[in-house]
Symmetry: D2
Amino acid sequence: MSFQNPVFIPGPTNMPEVLRKAVDMPTMDHRSAAFADILQPALAGVKKVLKTVAGQVFFFPATGTGAWEAAIANTLSPGDRVLACRNGMFSHRWIDLCTRFGIEVEVVEAAWGEGIDAARFEEILTADKGHAIKAVLATHNETATGVLSDVAAVRRAMDAAGHPAMLFVDGVSSVGSMDFRMDDWGVDVAITGSQKGFMLPAGLSIAGFSPKAMAAGETARLPRCFFDVRDMARTYAANGFPYTPPVGLLNGLAVSCGMLLDEGLDNVFARHARIAGGVRAAVHAWGLKLCAARPELWSNSVSAIRTPEGFNATDIVTRASSEYGMAFGTGLGEVAGKVFRIGHLGMMTDAMALSGIAVAEMVMVDLGLPVKLGSGVAAAQERYRHGAKAAQKKEAA
Amino acid sequence: MSFQNPVFIPGPTNMPEVLRKAVDMPTMDHRSAAFADILQPALAGVKKVLKTVAGQVFFFPATGTGAWEAAIANTLSPGDRVLACRNGMFSHRWIDLCTRFGIEVEVVEAAWGEGIDAARFEEILTADKGHAIKAVLATHNETATGVLSDVAAVRRAMDAAGHPAMLFVDGVSSVGSMDFRMDDWGVDVAITGSQKGFMLPAGLSIAGFSPKAMAAGETARLPRCFFDVRDMARTYAANGFPYTPPVGLLNGLAVSCGMLLDEGLDNVFARHARIAGGVRAAVHAWGLKLCAARPELWSNSVSAIRTPEGFNATDIVTRASSEYGMAFGTGLGEVAGKVFRIGHLGMMTDAMALSGIAVAEMVMVDLGLPVKLGSGVAAAQERYRHGAKAAQKKEAA
Amino acid sequence: MSFQNPVFIPGPTNMPEVLRKAVDMPTMDHRSAAFADILQPALAGVKKVLKTVAGQVFFFPATGTGAWEAAIANTLSPGDRVLACRNGMFSHRWIDLCTRFGIEVEVVEAAWGEGIDAARFEEILTADKGHAIKAVLATHNETATGVLSDVAAVRRAMDAAGHPAMLFVDGVSSVGSMDFRMDDWGVDVAITGSQKGFMLPAGLSIAGFSPKAMAAGETARLPRCFFDVRDMARTYAANGFPYTPPVGLLNGLAVSCGMLLDEGLDNVFARHARIAGGVRAAVHAWGLKLCAARPELWSNSVSAIRTPEGFNATDIVTRASSEYGMAFGTGLGEVAGKVFRIGHLGMMTDAMALSGIAVAEMVMVDLGLPVKLGSGVAAAQERYRHGAKAAQKKEAA
Amino acid sequence: MSFQNPVFIPGPTNMPEVLRKAVDMPTMDHRSAAFADILQPALAGVKKVLKTVAGQVFFFPATGTGAWEAAIANTLSPGDRVLACRNGMFSHRWIDLCTRFGIEVEVVEAAWGEGIDAARFEEILTADKGHAIKAVLATHNETATGVLSDVAAVRRAMDAAGHPAMLFVDGVSSVGSMDFRMDDWGVDVAITGSQKGFMLPAGLSIAGFSPKAMAAGETARLPRCFFDVRDMARTYAANGFPYTPPVGLLNGLAVSCGMLLDEGLDNVFARHARIAGGVRAAVHAWGLKLCAARPELWSNSVSAIRTPEGFNATDIVTRASSEYGMAFGTGLGEVAGKVFRIGHLGMMTDAMALSGIAVAEMVMVDLGLPVKLGSGVAAAQERYRHGAKAAQKKEAA
C-alpha cells in the first residue's frame, strides 16, 4: 500500500496534515485539567458546525452506527413507532437498527436515487391523529446513492401536520460538507462522525441533542449505558468523560472545527459544491448518469454513477485499485454492480479531484466502456479553472 | 502540556514509538483487500494474547464500557440473573451497567482491597439449583484498588458447584500485563481494551467469545446492533467490518500483539512483576500500605497506595500534576481521598518507574508526610538493579 | 499551506509515508552500538544503488552543493585544472564552485538544452598531452533543462584519449531515478543527495569515491575538514561519524534503499520512464517543445518545457501556486522565463502525474496559451493506461 | 531500541513533541512565498536567542563542525594567525580545523577541567603589537569537560589589550541553555547547532556574524562556497536560500525559538541551572567530583564526572546502555575513561533528571563503586522539590 494517491471513497476522507498531527498525541491524563482544553473547544466547535445554540453535543468513541443507536436508545422505548424513508443502504440500516431495538418503523419506500418524500411524510403524520409516531428519521445525505434530501422540507411537513414527533437526522456524510441547520430545521437529534466532513480517522460519533430530545430521555426505556447521554452531560459539566475518552480524536476534532470555521462554513460548502460540480460535469461528458434522480438531489459529498446495463460497475472499483492504486466506492445493496461512487468530500482540491476523474476514465476505457480519454477531465477543468482569481479579473475586464 | 514525562495513570499507558507510528495511518479504503492484512493479524494476535484457540475475537470502536455492554447484550435477556462481586469502582460500574439493561445482579460485596471471594461464589452457585444464574462476572484486575482476583479459583468454584453459568471476565487492566488464560479458565467472554497492556490509544474494545457465549447469542433477547458480534463474525469472514473500522487502531493492535509475542508473554509478565515489585518496595520503604489487602492480591499493573488517616490522598495527585508535571491516579469511589494510584503497566522501564517513585516522594515530603527523600527510590533500585546481567554473573560467581 | 497536492518541483520530491516515519526518529545515542544498524545498511544500500563494488560511500549533513565541494576538496589542489561542460544552471554552479576554490576550469559551452559533447571532450583530452587536466566534471542530469547526458560516452572519450583524469559525476537528479553505473562508467566521484530519487527531505549529501579518488586525496592540498572523507572513512570503520550525524536522515536513507532495491532498480527506472513519457506526450499534445534538444537527451526525472516567444513561462509557475496550490519549477538562468519545469521523479504515480498535467493545462488556458483543456491529460492517459495488466492481456489476446 | 527512556547525552537532546512535529513536514516548494514564513521567524528568533541586534544570522545544513568551518572560511586567509585555548576535545577540534585550513594557531594549553585563561589571553594580545592575531577563538562551553568559560572576560582581556582581533565563540552547547550575549560581549562570529539548546535533530548549523566579521569576508581568501555567508545574505534578502534548504529543520527552529522566548530566556536558563544543580548535588552525594575544576566553571548543560583512579568511567556508559537502556556520554580524548558525562540540557524535567541519576546510581553500585543507592537521588530531590510553589508558600509562611 503506497498511500501516494488520494482516496475517493465517500469517507473516511483524505486527512489534512495538521489533523493527522492533532490526532497523533502522546498519552495524557484525561482526568487532568488539560482535558478541558480539548473537550470544550470540541464541544463549542461542533455546536457551531451543527448550527445549534440550544442543543447539547455528545461524543462517543464509536461510529455512525453507534450514533444512530445513541439517538434511539436515549429517546425511545420498546414498541415506540417511528417514521422513516428507505432510499439507500444507510437509511435501510438505520431502519434495521430500530427494528432490532424493538421499535416499529413505518417505512416509506423510495427508489434508490430518490430523496425523502416530504409530502408522503406529511400525509402519514397528518393521519397519525394519536401521535403514535414518536420520531421521524431522515438520512440527510444517502451515501449509497449520492442523494441529498431536503430536511427543511421534512420539518415543514411535520409542522404542516401539526405533529409533535421528534426529528432525528443522520448527517454523517453531510455535516461539514453541505449546509446543516440543526436549530433552524428543528432537528432533535443530529448525528455525524469524525471521518467525513471533519476529515479525521473513524472512531468518533458525534451527536447533537435538542432540549426536547434530552427531555425524552427522562422517560425513554430502551436500555443504555455506553451511549447514555445523561452520563455524558453530567461528566462533561466537570470536564470529564464517563469512561476513557479517545483524547487524540477529540483533539483532532477541536482543530478540525477551527479549520472549518476559519475557512468559513459557507466557503467550505462552496468548495464542496465546486469540486462536486466538476465531477458531475465529467460524468455527463462520459455520457453517464448519476444515481441521484434529479439535480436538486445531487450530493456535494459523493456522486454515485450509473454504468450501462450489462456492465458490472464494481469492476471499475476493483480495477482502479489493482491497476492504478486508487480507491473508489462500490455500489451497495440494491445498486450493487449498478453504480460506482466517487467521494469528493473533505479537504479535496481541484487537482486531487482531477486525478480521480482521470483514473476513472482510464479504467472505463480499459474495460471497454465508450468513454473518451480526457473528456471528463476537460469538462471538470472547465469548471475548476473558473475559480482562478486572475482569470476572473480578466473576464471582468 | 509538555509531554516530557511519562504518565503513571493506570491507563492509557505510555505508548512506544513504533505503536504511535502504526496507529497514525493515512486514510486507506477499508473495503479493499489491504484491510485483511490488518484485521487478520490483529485477530490472530489477540487470540494468542488471550490464550484462546476455541474463542472468537471481536473489536469494537469503543472502550471497556462498550465491551462490558457487548458481553451482556450478546448473551443475555431482560430479567436474566448474574452473579458478581463488587470490590471496587470498575466492578461496581459493570454491575450498574447490568442493572440498566434489566439484568438482576446478585452482588457479593467485598471490602475495597479484597479480591473475589470464590468460596462465597461456590456457595451461591451451589444453592442455585434452578440455574437461574446465567453468568458469573469477574473483574480480573480491579483498577481502582490494584487488586488481582483469582479467576482460576472462580472457575473451580463454578465447576465444584456443577453450575452451567457462563463466566465473563473483565481483563481490561490485566490482559497483556499479567497472565490471562481464556481457554484454561473456561472464560466465556473475555474483555479488554487497546489502552492498557496493548499500549495503544483508547478507542478500541476487544472481546473474546467462547463457542458457548456465541451459542447463547442465538436466544439472547437484549437489543444490540453496534455491539452485535454476529454482524462482526459475518463481516470478518469476508475480511470486512459491519461499519467503518478504526483502521489505525487495528493496525496498531496487530503491531502491538507482534511486540508482545516477540518479547514472549512470560517475559512481558515478568517485566511487569519486576517493575511492580520495585514500586511496592518503595511503598513499604515509605511506611505506607497498599490498598490490596494481601500479597496474593497485589496487582502488577497498578498499585493503589493508602495514605495516613486524615490526609487527602488526592492532594498527591493534584500536586504532582501542578508542580512536577506528572500524572498519577486518584482514588475512586469508596477509596477516594484514601488512596492514590501508580500505574505501572505497558512499556514501562525501570528508569521510568524510578522517576515516578522519585516524584511521588518529593510530593509527599512537600505535603508533610513523614517520608524520607530517596528512600522509596533506593528500595526500588535494589529490586531493579538485580535485573542486570553483569551483576547477576558477579553474584553467580 | 495545505499540503494536499503533490509537488512537481524537480526535488525535493514527494515523500512516501514510510520514509517520513523513518526520518522522524526520537533522539538516540549516535555513539551507541545501535548506530551501526542504521549506518551500515545505508552504506550498503547506496553502494547497490550507485552500482559500485569498489567504491566507498560517504554521507555529509549537507546538500548537493556540499557534495560538489567534497568532490573537489578531497581530490584536488589549488591551481589544478578540470574539464567541464556548461549546459545549464547546475553545471554552471559546479564550475563556479571550482573557480572559487582556485581550480582552473576548461569550460566547454553548450546550448542550454544540449548534453555534454563527448566528442569535444575527447579532442580536448587528446590535446592535453601533459595531462594537466586532473578531472572531468559531468552533470549527468541537468535539472535546469531536463537534459540527460551520456556519461558512458564521456568515459569512452576519456579512454579514447588515453587520458588519466578522474571522472566526477553529479547524479543529484539522476541517481535512483535513471540508470547510474559508477563502476561500469569508471566514475571516480559520484554525487547525489537525499531529496531526489531517495525521496527524503533535503539535508544529506551522498558521495561515492573510487579507490583512485581516495588515493588522490593523499596528495590533494585543498583545505577540508567538514567534508574530509578520510575522517569519514576512519570513523565509519568503527561505526561512528566524525561529528554528530543526522540520524533520522540516515535511517530514512537505509529504508529508502530497501524500497528501491525491493522494487528493483530496473523497475524503478521503468516507472520513471513511463511517468515521464506521459508528461512528454502531454507536452506534445499542447503543441509545446521540450528544452532538451533531442529525444536521446530527454530526462526521466524532470521535463523543462519551452513556452512560446513573448510569453513569460514563470507566470505558469506563479499562477499554479497562487490559484491551484500546485508547485512547478521555474526556468533558471539563461532559460528563466523561457521554460517551466515539471518534476516527475521519486514516488510519483500515474494519478499524481495526471493531476499535475491537468493543473498545468488549466493554468495555460487561464493565461491565454492556445492549449486545449484535457488534451495533455488524454495524451498522458493513453500512455499510462497501457501499464494496466488486464489491458495488456487484452492486447496480447 | 525502545526509545522509552530519555537520553542523557550532551546532545542531541530529547525533543519536545511539538518540535518533532514541526520538523516532520511534508515536501513544500522552497522557492515559493511560503518559505519566507519559515525563514524569517527562524532568523528573527535566533537573533533574539543570540541577543544580537547588529548581527546577521545564517543557517547551513551541517553541524557544529560546519559552523566552525564557516566562521574561519568567511573571515580569514591562509597564513592568518588566531589565538585559542585548548581545554577539551571540542576546543581541540576547532584548533585542528584551523590548522587544516592553513591558519596558524597560537594555542594556550589549559588543563581539561579548566576554563579559558583570560589573563593569559590578555598577555598574548598585549604582546602582539603588530596585530598579527586576526581572531580569538573561544569555546564557551567545553562539552567534553562540562566547563563554562567566561566569554565576557575574554572580551575584557581583548579590550584591555586594545587588540582589534575578532572574537569567535563556539556556543554549540551553551546557546539556548545558558546566557549568551553576542552584542554585549562583542562576539564577531557566534556558532551553534540545532541539536542542543534548540532541542531539534542534528543537521542545522547556526551562525551569527557581526558587521565586522561580514566586512572581514570581503578580503578573506580562504575558499568557500557551501559555507559562503555572502551567498546566504544575498538569497535570504529575497527569501531564498543558495541551495536546497532543510525546510523541516528551519521550521522546527522557528518553533523552537518561539518556545524559548515564550518561556523567557531567563526562565530557560534558570531551569537549566536548577536541573544541573540537582545533578551536581547527586555527584557530591556519591562522593565524586566534577571534571570542572571550580564552581564558577560548572556547566548547566553537561556535567562531566570524574570516577576514582583505576576505574574505567566508560564502563558506566556501556553498562547503562546494555542493562538499563539509558544513554550517558563517555569521556573523550584526555579524559577518556576518567569521566562519564550526564547531559542535562534541552527540555529536561526534574523527573527525567531523577531517572538518569537513579540509573547512574544503580550502574555504579553494580560496578562496585562505593555509592549508596538513593543517595544521589535524595540530594537532587532536595534541590528539585524547592521549585514547588505550594512548598515555597509554606516556607514563606
